[in-house]
């Protein structure tokens, strides 16, 4: 066997140290808590100057339109704008930041599923759930639906994730097709899956679902009918093995 290259050994040692530190500080119970305990370790991570510079450029171009931003060092840049600034944000990313590559576009429904996880199907079935609080991911949010697009700059090697809050009463947003021609099909998918209305979209036919399909399947309140019919024994797969703790 040949030797392990040094940089990998270093990486592995770092990862190990981090894990041990996390394990040492009592049982990691809840995700946000565990993250908070990790924070002293995070200092090791170098600041992501590229993402910070990109954020500065975008802030200059968009001004107050950026409601929130988030940088995960060396992993990405998130910005959030209002629905009215959606197209402006995309063209700012394309023109000011040279993000010519259109990666994808989609939407997120932040409503907690009223059906639970549907893992422990036998317990879950037909039981009214206590409605959970709605919570958002990076850059926060205010409304149930968020639009999401990722564009990438090949020259600056930086990807920007743009999110936009959609109004609760009627989720409606401008089309991105004038900025990125490739948004067409992605928007059609978002329209049928999430029931989002897109202004000036030239072709709003369903892309996947049959023409007369009712409902919007990717919405969290759209039940997964297969799970309603037949209990799913999925949770059994992750049962503890003899001799395992936690």
């Amino acid at each position: 066997m040949t030797e392990v290259p040094e940089h990998l050994l270093k990486k592995a040692a770092e990862a190990r140290a981090k894990r041990e530190a996390a394990a040492g500080s009592s049982a990691p119970t809840d995700a946000p808590e565990a993250k908070a305990k990790d924070e002293p370790e995070e200092v090791v991570v170098e600041p992501d100057t590229k993402a910070e510079e990109a954020l500065e450029v975008l802030k200059e171009a968009l001004g107050d339109a950026i409601l929130a931003s988030h940088i995960e060092p060396h992993r990405g840049l998130w910005i959030r704008v209002g629905a009215q600034d959606w197209r402006a944000a995309a063209s700012a990313a394309r023109d000011a930041l040279d993000c010519k590559f259109f990666d994808f576009l989609s939407a997120i429904d932040w409503l907690p599923s009223p059906y639970g996880r549907e893992l422990e199907a036998e317990q879950d079935l037909n039981e009214a759930k206590e409605p959970e609080e709605m919570s958002w991911g990076y850059t926060g949010g205010e409304t149930r639906f968020q639009m999401l697009a990722r564009v990438y700059s090949l020259s600056h090697h930086i990807g920007v994730m743009i999110k936009a809050d959609l109004p609760d009463d009627e989720p409606r947003i401008d089309s991105l097709i004038p900025v990125y021609a490739g948004a067409n099909w992605h928007e059609r998918e978002a329209i049928e899956m999430f029931g989002i209305a897109v202004n000036d979209h030239p072709d709003v036919r369903n892309i996947y679902l049959p023409g007369g399909f009712e409902g919007h399947p990717m919405r969290k309140d759209y039940p997964l009918l297969a799970r309603r019919m037949k209990p799913w024994p999925g949770i059994v797969d992750v049962e503890l093995m003899p001799g395992d703790e936690s």
Partner: protein, 390 residues
């Protein structure tokens, strides 16, 4: 067996939708050509409706959804380890490569890193699924043009690679071998030597195909200058992989966006072609298969020793957060945008599959071409229906 009212309604709705599509594309003085859903050039069930004026295409519209399986919805009710079983079936010719970006995204959120040996074997299997996938494409592309022999060479030689993948993972097409924190199992004894021999065979296969297909005058006449996509248009439609490099954009996620695979440990080259036509896309893929053989060959020499699994809890709960990880899959950029709320299951997974974006350029690129060129262009864009419909 009686048909329920709901099923009847669904059937009527589907018929109505079809009728509407046909009506929209009905022309006054031209004709409408329907291709598929079952057509050998579609790698699954894709339907293409083209509006013709004589031999020329005025407008073309791909119609998908015949194979939509709703994976994005299903991932929301599967635990993280169970998701890999589903996503194996997206691009069924290079299944292992589908698992890797999802696992890497989950690892990124969990702050776990696979041990070096696992990273090495992952990269090797990743590139082997690329060889298995693209070698079939090379043969298939020749069939689209009308040469039937190369596909038999492709099926014959791909079998060697599939056998090697099967020996490690137990599955020829759907390995389901990647785990959060490492791999399910180590390599079997004697595997490295056998694989080296297989790689030699694949290199011979690439040389053969270079002579037989790429160097063929008829093949060149059918593909050169057909379906030209300029770099700017390719970027705005989100084309990726060989389709982008065939348009002269020097962009490869393996080199430009490294994430947990060990491509920096070997010496290889990103191939591009400036023409942007069907031939250049084919040529880039052929060179990529060679390069993949080269990468596997080099990596096989230096597999580090050590464990293949990092220490992860048995019940995997992924901390709250969002991550997007994409890798350079055989078909192009495949990425998973995973949103976790700290639960057993992902809150939302957006699957960014390569073929969906690659095919979205179809209405643009097919405008104005002649009917026989449709097949050459569709073949060279290379899509797998499972990768479009998800």
């Amino acid at each position: 067996m009686s048909v329920s009212e709901q099923e009847q309604l669904a059937y009527i709705a589907a018929q109505a939708a079809d009728a509407r599509v046909n009506l929209e594309l009905e022309t006054e003085d031209g004709m409408t050509l329907n291709m598929g859903p079952q057509h050998p050039a579609t790698h699954g069930t894709l339907r293409l409706v083209a509006k013709l004026d004589g031999e020329q295409v005025v407008a073309a519209e791909p119609i998908m959804g015949y194979m939509h399986r709703g994976y994005e919805k299903l991932t929301e009710v599967r635990t993280y380890p169970q998701v890999t079983t589903l996503i194996n079936r997206i691009d069924w010719l290079g299944s292992f490569a589908n698992e890797v970006p999802f696992i890497l995204a989950a690892e990124q959120l969990m702050e776990v890193e696979a041990p070096p040996r696992a990273q090495w074997i992952r990269t090797i299997l990743f590139e082997m699924s690329r060889i298995a996938n693209i070698s079939l494409y090379i043969g298939d592309m020749a069939v689209q043009i009308g040469a039937t022999t190369p596909i038999f060479f492709a099926f014959r030689d791909r079998e060697h690679i599939l056998n090697q993948i099967e020996r490690v993972t137990g599955g020829r097409f759907h390995p389901n071998f990647d785990r959060i924190g490492g791999l399910k199992d180590d390599l079997p004894a004697g595997w490295i030597e056998e694989t080296k021999a297989v790689i030699k065979k694949m290199q011979t296969f690439c040389d053969q195909m270079d002579d037989l297909v790429a160097g063929n005058e008829i093949f060149q006449a059918r593909t050169r200058g057909i379906g030209v996509i300029p770099a700017e248009v390719a970027l705005s439609y989100g084309l990726s992989g060989a389709n982008l490099r065939g348009s002269g954009v020097d962009w490869d996620l393996r080199r430009d966006q490294p994430c947990g695979l060990v491509y920096d440990q070997c010496d290889w080259k990103v191939w591009t072609h400036p023409d942007g036509d069907s031939y250049s896309r084919f040529w880039v893929r052929l060179q990529e298969t060679r390069e993949a053989c080269n990468i596997v060959d080099q990596l096989l020499d230096n597999i580090p020793s050590g464990p293949i699994m990092a220490k992860v809890p048995r019940i995997i709960k992924v901390p709250a957060g969002e991550a997007y990880v994409a890798t350079e899959n055989p078909l192009g950029e495949m990425g998973y945008y995973v949103v976790s709320k700290g639960d057993l299951t992902p809150f939302r997974v957006k699957i960014r599959s390569a073929s969906f974006s690659n095919m979205s350029i179809c209405p643009w690129v097919l405008k104005g071409v002649f009917v026989p060129d449709i097949i050459a262009i569709l073949g060279s864009l290379y899509f797998i229906l499972g990768d479009i419909d998800r």
